[in-house]
């Protein structure tokens, strides 16, 4: 069953026409990886879905049109966002970052977050700017998971992390995303293949592949052609 439907999406960033008439669907529950080489418009697609960039065309989340809606309305539909580069509030403490994410009308899920990232529990009073890259990523993901989310938009969660931290983050995402619809942008094909059932590949602002993640990851020709990577 389709949960997110993107059709005829067009997005400009300044003068640049980044997304050209993109259409694809995201199935309810499970992870859909949004893949492609650098600069093809993956992050732009997430930003447009979150209302952080103006767009034309249509994006529906759970049947609700979100194009043209303010970002805070989209977030309150139950859309959680983990941005590229984490974007934690570095001058606030870890606890304040979480308190900011608390929403009236829903009980914050601190138990879930601290089960996934126990390291953060002892750092609530620490300034978020002094956390390591991995801890900041945990905070960014934890902040998005604090409220029940029907859709999670996760942008390169393993970017710039040490291999051991990547494994921790992937393990946490496997647990956290089991009952949620997730759109995952990821450059690391191993991570994408580990987490996602479905894949959508963008190239030059257009969809060039939409289908099974396993098929894509297990086919070196396909992966090489669309992603420019060799699959081992």
């Amino acid at each position: 069953m389709t949960f997110v439907s993107i059709s005829n999406l067009q997005v400009y960033r300044g003068e640049a026409h980044v997304i050209h008439d993109v259409s694809f669907d995201v199935a309810e529950h499970g992870v859909t990886a949004l893949l492609g080489r650098n600069g093809v418009g993956k992050t732009t697609t997430l930003l447009a879905t979150m209302g952080l960039l103006p767009a034309s065309g249509s994006i529906t989340v759970g049947g609700v049109e979100v194009v043209g809606k303010p970002t805070h309305h989209i977030a309150r539909l139950g859309v959680g966002y983990v941005p590229e580069d984490r974007e934690v509030f570095s001058t606030l403490t870890v606890g304040e970052n979480f308190r900011l994410a608390e929403r009236s009308g829903s009980e914050p899920r601190y138990d879930l977050v601290f089960d996934l990232f126990p390291d953060l529990k002892g750092r609530l009073g620490q300034s978020a700017g002094t956390l390591s890259g991995g801890q900041q990523q945990m905070l960014s993901i934890g902040r998005a998971l604090l409220n029940p989310a029907s859709l999670l938009l996760i942008d390169e969660p393993t970017k710039g992390l040490a291999p051991t931290v990547v494994e921790d983050v992937v393990q946490a995402l496997v647990t956290a995303t089991s009952d949620t619809t997730v759109v995952l942008v990821e450059q690391n094909l191993w991570v994408a293949a580990h987490l996602a059932k479905h894949a959508v590949v963008l190239d030059q602002g257009m969809v060039v592949y939409q289908g099974d993640m396993e098929t894509l990851a297990s086919n070196p020709d396909l992966a090489g052609k669309y992603l420019g990577v060799a699959v081992r």
Binding site: A75, F89, R99, L100
Partner: protein, 294 residues
């Protein structure tokens, strides 16, 4: 020694005025990237509100009347800030050239309007007798009005810090100064905070106007605009959006200005402040307590 103490406490009183004018500017620029060149008008409007109360509320004795005058200047400043944000600035977020033109025009029009209404001659603020008395501190006879201005500024600084660090609105403002888009992505309507911050900025500048009328022995329409340049210097030295930075920079700028004027050459104080600004920008471009912009 006594003249040094007197100068220092007078400078700290001036620092209090700079803080009241600059803290709102700093929050407004930090959160909304709006360079509010009309902010000096809030200062003057607050000063006239205080003058009006002191001049017309004869039923109260001067002490309580001054308290009412300061509260009135705070209220008038807060309302003016909210009206400017809701009525004018809200339509122009992200349009920096238009914002600058609008706020220059608004500031100029406000000064002309107040000049037409009250004339450009200073209006003397009736003051409680206690203000004219002195208190002996380390051998110096310090005018009580300087101590009052300093005390009110410290009280408002403490109140602002409590608001910013202990309340949810304060948390949203601090986060919004750093990354307003991410605050929205957490489901928070940050534009409500924009009005609140303009209102707080107007309130602080309004109180600054009431106390400025005491410090400068009267209020005139361009008093706020004349102080605005120093407030901008304070904001840049302190670091955009940092209230503790604004407080530290206010003290630094006022002390530099007063010491150079008195121990150097008269009139050199203002130039020395510009030199101080240039030196700090060279050493620490983000300001004393500012954050490096990504």
């Amino acid at each position: 020694m006594s003249s040094f103490v007197l100068l220092t406490i007078s400078a700290l009183g001036l620092a209090g005025l700079y803080f009241l004018l600059a803290s709102g500017l700093s929050l407004i620029f930090g959160l909304m990237s709006v360079l509010n060149l009309a902010h000096g008008a809030f200062f003057a409007v607050g000063g006239y509100a205080a003058w009006f109360v002191m001049d017309s509320l004869d039923a109260l004795s001067p002490g309580p009347r001054f308290v009412v005058a300061v509260l009135a200047s705070a209220a008038v400043g807060a309302v003016a800030g909210a009206v400017v944000e809701l009525g004018l600035i809200r339509k122009l977020y992200g349009k920096h050239t238009e914002q600058i033109l609008l706020t220059i025009g608004l500031g100029t029009a406000a000064v002309a309007l107040m000049g037409g209404w009250f004339t450009f001659d200073p209006r003397l603020l009736a003051q409680p007798a206690w203000f004219g008395n002195t208190t002996a501190i380390l051998g110096a006879n310090v005018p009580n009005n300087r101590l009052l201005i300093l005390g009110v500024a410290i009280l408002l600084f403490a109140g602002l810090m409590v608001f910013l660090t202990r309340t949810r609105h304060g948390l949203i403002i601090r986060a919004g100064v750093e990354n307003p888009s991410m605050v929205r992505a957490l489901g928070i309507d940050v534009s409500r905070s924009f009005t609140l911050v303009f209102s707080i900025g107007g309130l602080l500048a309004g109180v600054g106007g009431a106390l400025g009328a005491v410090f400068f022995n009267g209020i005139n329409p361009s008093l706020g605009t004349a102080q605005l340049i120093f407030a901008f210097i304070v904001v840049v030295i302190g670091g955009l959006g940092s209230i503790p930075g604004t407080a530290v920079a206010s003290v630094l700028v006022a002390l530099t200005q007063v010491y150079v004027n008195n121990y150097g050459a008269t009139g050199m104080g203002s130039i020395s402040v510009v030199v101080l600004l240039a030196a700090i920008l060279l050493i620490r471009p983000q300001g004393l307590l500012g954050k490096v912009q990504a």
